[in-house]
Symmetry: C2
């Protein structure tokens, strides 16, 4: 992939995410940003699974948001309960073409399009142990730093932001 | 700043970093990457100061590396001892044109050019309290995630990496 391209590519689409899933993700990212919650996409967890979007609140609470782009996408995923082991709250996110009632009541639910999102149902809290939180926060910190360094080494612009860590 | 530019700019040069300081930083970043230590540049700390480079080891140890591009740059900095409050180890980094003996013996010392770096003197350990480490790790995680999201929203390519969080 060229470092500089005249067409704005999104390399985070790695073939595993559909265009529709990316739209949902974008909407959720905007909602989270408005809430002051930072998020990192495609984070590999200690069990080898990859969270679609992992969010970190200002108080250090960790949420996982799994994006489902179709009914089928949800039906084939039998492993979503495992994500609960790595977050304080767990949400599904989808778009209006997917029936909301297929998603379990005991999970949070976010409805999104490419422009924004709405939290339809908050997620119940199941607090992480201190040890799991510590290991997970280290993983997030290192993953973010590694991606930023790789981007910088490739000459890609990633400026610092005001109040980014607060 | 345009999202796509034919000239690879480095926006991390915000006028406060000299070209020479950026070369030192690049060398240090490469050394750290070789060591499996991830790093994030220009991180604002709780006391309002900004660390030139903050590194996170696989075990969760936090280092701060302050870059000094000239004798004058070191002489005018009377506040470097404050950085010790936010890391387990503290290093100065510079380039071969700056005399090494101006830097205090009680700090680690890294000699760098634009291609790589060498750790001339390891830094003594002064372990952070659990509470400070927790707050700092949260700050790093959120800062990294916020920068990545801002880049993604601007259409900039920041791919995930293999084993990035481990």
């Amino acid at each position: 992939m060229p470092i500089v391209s005249p067409i704005p590519l999104n390399p985070l689409i790695d073939g595993r995410q559909s265009e529709r899933a990316m739209l949902v993700r974008r909407g959720v990212q905007r909602l989270l940003a408005q809430m002051g919650v930072t998020s990192i996409p495609e984070l590999c967890l200690a069990n080898g699974r990859r969270a679609d979007l992992l969010a970190i609140t200002a108080k250090g609470e960790i949420w996982i948001i799994e994006i489902k782009s179709s009914v089928e996408d949800f039906r084939v995923d039998r492993k979503w309960p495992e994500y609960r082991l790595y977050c304080d709250r767990f949400f599904f996110a989808t778009h209006p073409q997917v029936p909301a009632d297929i998603f379990p009541d005991e999970c949070g639910f976010i409805l999104a399009d490419g422009y924004g999102a709405e939290m339809i149902r908050d997620a119940p809290e199941h607090r992480l142990s201190a040890a799991t939180r510590k290991a997970l926060m280290l993983r997030i910190a290192r993953a973010g730093a590694a991606r930023l360094t790789a981007a910088e080494m490739a000459g890609v612009s990633v400026p610092t932001l005001a109040n980014e860590g607060e």
